[in-house]
């Protein structure tokens, strides 16, 4: 995950409390989604950014996961995301995200 984004996630978690934060990802494939999810839960696996060694354990989803999709207005989802949903390997993403959540999410 981009170092600047790591910094922002950490600041938001500090400000509002990690239990009140959900991270929504838009990564284009499973591995990248998994890495970003790992960063905001277990910590930065590349040990390069502000979240290196910091296990925030945040709740994290990908925008194409059903839990989030159901929360979004169907018209807006169609306008903004449906094209990518067609392109992405959504099952793979869900599998990656679920695994990370089960292992590292604290909330």
């Amino acid at each position: 995950m981009d170092l600047e984004n790591q910094k922002r996630v950490k600041e938001i978690a500090d400000q509002f409390g990690p239990e009140n934060v959900i991270v929504v990802l838009g990564a284009a494939e499973g591995e990248a989604a998994g890495l970003a999810a790992e960063t905001v839960t277990a910590g930065d696996p590349t040990y390069a950014g502000p979240l290196a060694g910091v296990s925030l354990g945040l709740l994290v989803y990908h925008i194409c996961e059903p839990e989030i999709k159901e929360e979004v207005d169907a018209g807006i989802y169609d306008e903004q995301v449906s094209m990518m949903e067609m392109v992405l390997d959504v099952d793979d993403i869900i599998a990656e995200m679920t695994a990370i959540r089960e292992q590292y999410t604290k909330y």
Partner: protein
């Protein structure tokens, strides 16, 4: 109004492992944050040799040696595959090694900031001198170099940036200011790399397009660097800086920036400038970027790959007025990411692809090929960024499904049919849409592809001024002009009946004689007609331009410098046909250069008339021997020439008067005035010097970049000669003079024509002494203002005569005299004493 056309492209790679190690930001950041890291230890084991980099299939594709189709046929990954016979030079450009590039950087340095090791320069200079495109004026800028001890000191103590080639410190780039970070050694290094690679790419573009450097009107630089000082950090102007070194004397220019989308924006700007009529020839160009070298190096090392981001990339395109041949940029179809678009991928693709197509009444399947971000997947996949072009194609297809233009099941087939494999280095602006322009042009010229959409995208948020995304797309199509009824056929389509116009104002024998000459040509089966009136030459030019006539026979017509005519005659002694090269016009202003170029023009004319390997003799006139030596060297270096032998007892390539009468050579080379004299004498001797009754006239104008078929007769030419000139003109069409000329000059240039000529010229220039010789050149950083512009050059000479080096120039507020800061007081005093300043 006519669309502009894409007349040529240039693509260059520079293999720079030294810069990768010492200037790529991934590596420099690691070195400062984590100097003992495993990555830095493992890095040297993952560096490719120049040979491996050259044989890497996507690199051969980038310079045009391996088609995209052939690349796609090679199974991925590609890093462990090699092209069997890789070549440094390709139809679009080259892969330059790092040592030559270091010297090119020094050539491109105008402020004495780059210094190289003396021994290194000695070794590498000859390589650049042998380079087919580096000009003599560029060679002249190569400095001798410094001692290695001084170089080490500069790097260790004076904040200079090292230039490292093959583990050796071979030079440095020093800071241009003690305090200003915008002129730090680091920034100057990056900017000079960008400038030098841009220059190289422009040189390749000029070679490929055949455009005279003097005909370039405007240059738009679209790289990702910024040059300026602390008072104007991105002041510019890379475009003009590169244009200067590339010798584009009549060009101005400016820089366009839009992150990776820069080149696509710049092409749209260039196409608009040309279509509006503001400029005729606009070059878009971008040099490479050191910071991005080895950007994904950590992933490549972790996965056991060589570091694939070891090349700088350069790109250039020439946008010109519609010539009825080259593919057009259709400005009616421009996709744009606007402020209101938003940044979701769906909104981005809609704005760039489907919205402009829908507005033009087209479907996504109406576009033959899409060229979005063309990153090489070999580089991006191991770094977790996937196959970028493929992801783009899937998005375009998915949007097509949403719009009902495509069935979902057709999605993979769409990607295969309308997509391209990525092959571009990840140099930011380089992969964004434009890598396909070269192949697109070739494919459209050959009729294999009808159209293409080029899509540039950029991430503006990186600059922290806006969170927006950006992008612009444009539409390229096969030239549409030839399909209209009044259209011009491309030269290749002309078959057996060329149309020849005859325009001979003020003939000494009257219009009737010309008319009978045209009639007699018609009787022989030629399509010829007379262009009459006082403005017949103007109308002849218009007819040539519109394609109404294929070639013309004219009298009293002036060619530009660089073009001379090759006459054709029957020799009196044996009635052999002989080409006199040349008879009118000026192929060059330097006598020796002119004769060498005359020889090539003669060979071109002879080949056009069906003599596959003409023999070449050189008239024994002043400069003949020198011309002969150059032609012999040229022949040894690959431009094969069959030399004639004098029929006199002592033989040799130099031809005497006897040989002229006998026609001992197919092509007789001489200076133009002598050629003109011989032509008149050999054409008019049977009439006692009256009208010219023998031969084919003074022949077609031929020059390196000349693209018309105009043949010259004189006002004294008789009907038989004019009828023969029509025959000769028809032969220039059937024999495809223009293609042969282009090919011959390319071959001659490959063999080093320009270098050989420049050497001779340099020698003759050295012989001429200026009024006051300039003292040794010094770095000019100071300016003196207030000198009258008409006295500026005098003032410069006044300082020279006092031993002070100075240059004249034009500053923001008027004329300036530039000189070294140590000289300013003394110079001001001298100028004041002599009344140049108050």
């Amino acid at each position: 109004m006519n669309n502009s056309v894409l007349k040529g492209t240039g693509y260059v790679l520079v293999h720079v492992p030294g810069m990768l190690m010492h200037h790529g930001t991934t590596q420099t950041t690691e070195r400062s944050v984590n100097p003992d890291s495993d990555y830095l230890k493992e890095l040297p084991g993952h560096i490719r040799s120049y040979e491996d980099c050259l044989a890497y299939p996507p690199n051969q594709t980038y310079i045009g040696n391996l088609s995209i189709e052939a690349l796609s046929a090679i199974e991925e990954p590609w890093f462990d595959k090699k092209v069997e016979t890789p070549s440094r030079f390709g139809p679009f450009g080259e892969v330059m090694p790092e040592d030559e590039f270091a010297v090119l950087m020094q050539i491109c340095d105008a402020f004495d900031l780059v210094h190289l090791d003396r021994g290194f320069v000695r070794n590498v200079k000859p390589k650049l001198e042998a380079h087919p495109l580096i000009t003599a004026s560029m060679h002249a800028l190569i400095k001798e170099g410094q001692d290695s001890e001084l170089i080490r000191k500069q790097v260790e103590r004076e904040h200079a940036q090292p230039i490292i080639v093959g583990d050796q410190l071979v030079g440095y780039v020093k800071r241009a200011h003690d305090v200003d970070v915008n002129l730090s050694a680091h920034v100057i290094f990056e900017n000079l790399v960008s400038k030098a690679s841009e220059v190289l790419t422009i040189l390749h573009l000029l070679k490929q397009s055949g455009l005279d450097p003097a005909d370039v009107d405007y240059v738009i630089d679209c790289s990702e660097e910024a040059c300026g000082d602390m008072n104007q950090r991105g002041g510019g102007n890379f475009a003009k800086a590169a244009a200067e070194i590339a010798g584009l004397l009549n060009a101005t220019g400016s820089d366009t920036r839009a992150f990776c989308a820069g080149p696509a924006h710049a092409v749209v700007e260039a196409a608009s400038l040309v279509k509006s009529g503001a400029f005729k020839n606009v070059i878009v160009a971008g040099g490479g970027c050191t910071a991005k070298l080895g950007m994904n190096g950590k992933d490549h090392v972790r996965k056991g790959l060589p570091i694939l981001e070891d090349c700088l990339g350069g790109f250039a395109a020439l946008i010109s007025e519609n010539d009825g041949i080259n593919p057009e940029i259709n400005l009616d179809i421009i996709g744009r990411h606007t402020v209101g678009t938003g940044s979701s991928p769906q909104a981005v693709i809609e704005s760039l692809v489907t919205n402009p197509l829908t507005a033009a009444g087209m479907k996504i399947t109406d576009v033959d090929k899409y060229s979005p971000e063309m990153q090489n997947p070999d580089i991006t996949k191991p770094a977790g960024a996937g196959d970028v072009p493929e992801a783009n194609y899937k998005m375009i297809a998915a949007l097509g499904v949403k719009l009902g233009q495509l069935e979902r099941a057709e999605l993979p087939a769409f990607v295969k049919k309308h997509g391209l494999r990525g092959f571009a280095p990840t140099q930011g602006h380089i992969p964004s849409g434009v890598p396909y322009l070269g192949f697109a042009r070739e494919s459209m010229l050959a009729g294999r592809t009808e159209n293409a959409m080029i899509i540039g995208k950029g991430s503006l948020f990186l600059g922290r001024m806006t969170n927006q995304f950006d992008g612009i797309s444009f539409f390229m199509q096969k030239n549409t002009r030839k399909e209209s009824p009044s259209a011009v056929a491309a030269p290749a389509l002309i078959t057996d009946l060329p149309v020849i116009g005859v325009a001979v104002p003020d003939s000494e024998s009257g219009t009737e004689m010309i008319r009978s000459a045209v009639d007699s040509a018609r009787k022989k089966g030629y399509q010829a007609f007379l262009i009459e009136g006082d403005d017949c030459l103007d109308r002849m030019e218009e007819m040539l331009k519109s394609g109404e006539i294929d070639a013309a026979v004219a009298a009293h017509y002036a060619f530009p410098v660089g073009v001379a005519t090759v006459g054709r005659i029957q020799t009196p002694a044996l009635g052999r046909e002989m080409f006199l090269a040349t008879t009118t016009g000026t192929s060059a202003t330097d006598r020796t250069e002119a004769m060498v170029r005359n020889a090539i023009a003669g060979i071109i004319a002879a080949k056009t008339c069906g003599i596959a390997e003409p023999t070449v003799g050189i008239a024994n006139v002043e400069g003949g021997r020198q011309c002969g030596r150059i032609l012999q060297t040229l022949s040894e270096k690959g431009y094969s020439i069959r030399f004639a032998e004098s029929e006199r007892a002592d033989g040799g390539v130099l031809m005497r008067g006897n040989d002229l009468l006998r026609g001992s050579a197919d092509v007789m080379v001489m200076d133009t005035l002598t050629g003109n004299l011989m032509m008149k004498m050999l054409s008019a001797f049977t009439t006692g010097g009256g009208i010219e009754s023998v031969g084919y006239g003074y022949g077609p104008g031929i020059g390196e970049r000349y693209d018309k078929r105009i043949l010259i007769v004189s006002r004294a030419s008789g009907a038989a000669v004019i009828a023969n000139a029509v025959d000769y003109a028809a032969q220039t069409v059937k024999g495809d003079l223009l293609t042969i000329a282009r090919q011959e000059f390319i071959k001659a240039n490959k063999a080093g024509l320009q270098t050989l000529i420049d050497e001779v010229k340099q020698r003759s220039q050295k012989a001429a002494v200026p009024k006051t010789a300039a003292p040794p050149k010094e770095t000019c950083t100071e300016e003196i203002h207030g000198i009258e512009v008409t006295e500026l050059d005098e003032a410069v000479e006044a300082l020279w005569s006092e031993g002070i080096y100075a240059e004249s120039g034009m500053g923001c507020t008027g004329p300036v005299l530039m000189l070294n800061h140590a000289r300013i007081e003394q110079a001001t005093r001298i100028l004041r004493d002599q009344g140049y300043v108050r």
